[in-house]
């Protein structure tokens, strides 16, 4: 089911709430908790929204068309910030090698360990759980992550 969702400039964002989560999917997500042991698992698997719905739509729905993520960035006034300038609350977008946005989350920690900058990200994995993880401790390719901030 789609809900009313617009950018700051009143452009409509297609979306839908999924309510499909099979028991076998839920069980599989639990198995992956053992693979990513340094991750803080906040919730059970929730199908209604995806990572983009969590990052840009307050967990109300899923945003599944990546072209509209670029529209949100543009309309809502996000600007890209370099990785050494990020702050808590900035949006992290994981790009594929071909330039598609594959995953999103919100920066929650920006610690420096021995000069290496390893942010922790609040995100959601597919129809699975909400998690807090270090930038690369996730199933997504973290070689090309860009950070964005609304400054006004």
């Amino acid at each position: 089911m789609e809900i009313a969702l617009e950018t700051r400039c009143r452009n409509k964002i297609p979306n839908y709430q999924s309510n499909e989560l099979a028991i076998f999917e839920s069980n599989q997500f639990d198995i992956y908790k053992r693979k990513y042991i340094l991750v803080n698992y906040r919730t059970a698997a929730i199908p209604f929204y995806n990572c983009h719905g969590m990052t840009f739509a307050s967990r109300r729905t899923g945003i599944h068309d990546i072209n509209f993520l670029r529209k949100i960035l543009e309309d809502d006034g996000y600007i890209e910030v370099s990785s050494n300038e990020i702050k808590e609350g900035d949006v992290a977008l994981y790009y594929s090698r071909s330039g598609d946005i594959e995953h999103s989350g919100i920066v929650v920690e920006t610690p420096k360990h021995g000069g290496i900058f390893i942010p922790r990200i609040y995100s959601k994995w597919g129809k699975g759980f909400e998690v807090v993880h270090s930038i690369a401790e996730c199933p997504y390719d973290a070689t090309n992550v860009k950070y964005y901030r609304i400054i006004r």
Binding site: S18, E20, A22, F24, E25, Q28, F29, Y32, N50, C51, H52, H64, D65, I66, S96, S98, D100, E102, H103, S104, W125, G126, G128, P139, Y140
Partner: protein, 139 residues
């Protein structure tokens, strides 16, 4: 020999499980060697049969859902003759993202460029392949 539900690579299962969007699922499965092997080992008719057989069952395991999407994308990759009609006839209602993935596949794989080449009259060339259609204008 039917497509086995056993020994499905972890990469395929994880692509499905952690996909955030239909585009993510489509691209990750399309580039997976497992899907490429499905597309090369089996003809389109066989893939359609396997897909329909799966749709006639209850999709009650991660393997069944992941392989259903894999077959669908292998079929898109093969681009069977009159494939638009083929995909219209497939019963995909059990797969949440099937319609989106078919739309993405058709858009990405359907020839979109028409190349018009003028060649001298003594030559006669008709060239057509899966990604490019060349129309040769004879002068």
């Amino acid at each position: 020999m039917s497509i086995s539900l056993e020994n499905i690579p972890k990469s395929v299962l994880e692509s499905y499980l952690f996909s955030n969007t239909p585009m993510y699922l489509y691209k990750h499965l399309l580039s997976d060697t497992y899907v490429q092997e499905l597309a090369s080992k089996f003809d389109a008719e066989r893939l359609i049969t396997e897909f329909n057989d799966l749709m006639d069952t209850e999709l009650d395991s991660l393997e069944k859902v992941a392989i259903s999407y894999s077959i669908l994308i292998a079929l898109l990759k093969k681009q069977p003759v009159s494939f638009k009609e083929v995909f219209k006839k497939l019963n995909t209602t059990k797969l949440e993202w099937a319609a989106e993935i078919i739309a993405i596949g058709m858009k990405q794989l359907t020839p979109t460029n028409t190349l018009i080449i003028n060649v001298p009259g003594q030559y006669r060339i008709n060239s057509e392949n899966s990604t490019t259609t060349s129309l040769i204008n004879r002068k």
